[in-house]
Subunit: 142 residues, 2 copies
DNA sequence: TGATTTGTAATTGATACGATTACATATTCC
DNA sequence: GGAATATGTAATCGTATCAATTACAAATCA
């Protein structure tokens, strides 16, 4: 199977899964979710664990088991979904410590940390403004 | 040599390099830049090519050659630096096309594109507000 | 009890990316 | 012109990341 990913697609998968759950009144199994996302059920199950830990869904085992939303789509933001399943920083740090002989090398990490925090705040504020209900609305509109 | 990178550190390297150039009145060689960043000169040279293509620096060959800023630090934003050296999207797409039998599978790509654009706009607006001169100011303050 | 489902560990294959070596090309200075 | 000093660039290596997959234990329900 060909892989074209240049980075994690967990957020894309998670939004997809959550949108399906929002349209569903009963439990959806990882097998059925995997089918619409077009991936392996285990990939979905690992995603469901993170979404569950974030309090966004509930899962149950056995026949008629699966996943359901833990609260209304209106009160779930894309930021909650993103931070539940995606852990990476906005941009990478120096892999090796910069030279301490250079004034820039000494202070750059702190400045980059400040930039990272600002970028992250801005990014999260934007995703907080989009709810799962908005996503579902846009899906139905198309 | 140990690698701890979890994603591209090109932006961190680029901001570091640009800050050094902003403090320099003469050309800085890739060898000297590599020393303060603590990486290989070739890594720096590849970065310098991208920064040059974006019109942020000029390079020259031969003795006394190297890189200099192409314009004042005040008029260079971190967004210009970021988009010069970092090409990846904010988050990854589905690696395999979602099922077209499911209404969510049909429309999810378009919705995720919309989310991506909003997130990206917000992110870029924030980085546009920070100039290379701001970075240098924060470095001197420490 | 047996079918169904989640939870989870281990492995595989592809890709990304910094680090490194090697060398061609351009520029300056004597 | 020739030597020294730079950048430009191709090729390769090693490690990390990550989705995909197989296998199986644990839980749940009829």
């Amino acid at each position: 199977m060909l892989h074209t990913h240049m980075q994690s697609c967990r957020f894309a998968f998670a939004v997809h899964v959550m949108a399906v759950l929002a349209n569903e009144d009963r439990c959806a199994s990882s097998a059925s979710l995997a089918e619409t996302v077009n991936t392996n059920p285990v990939v979905i199950r690992r995603l469901l664990i993170d979404l569950q830990n974030a309090g966004l869904i509930r899962t149950s085992r056995g026949p008629q088991g699966g996943a359901v939303l833990a609260k209304p789509a209106k009160s779930i933001s894309l930021w909650q979904i993103h931070s539940a399943v995606e852990s990476r920083e906005m941009f990478g740090q120096h892999p090796n410590p910069p030279s301490q002989d250079c004034p820039v090398g000494q202070g750059i990490a702190k400045v980059l940390g400040y930039v990272e925090r600002r970028a992250n705040r801005s990014f999260s504020r934007e995703l907080q403004m989009i709810s799962l209900a908005d996503v579902v609305r846009r899906l139905h509109r198309a």
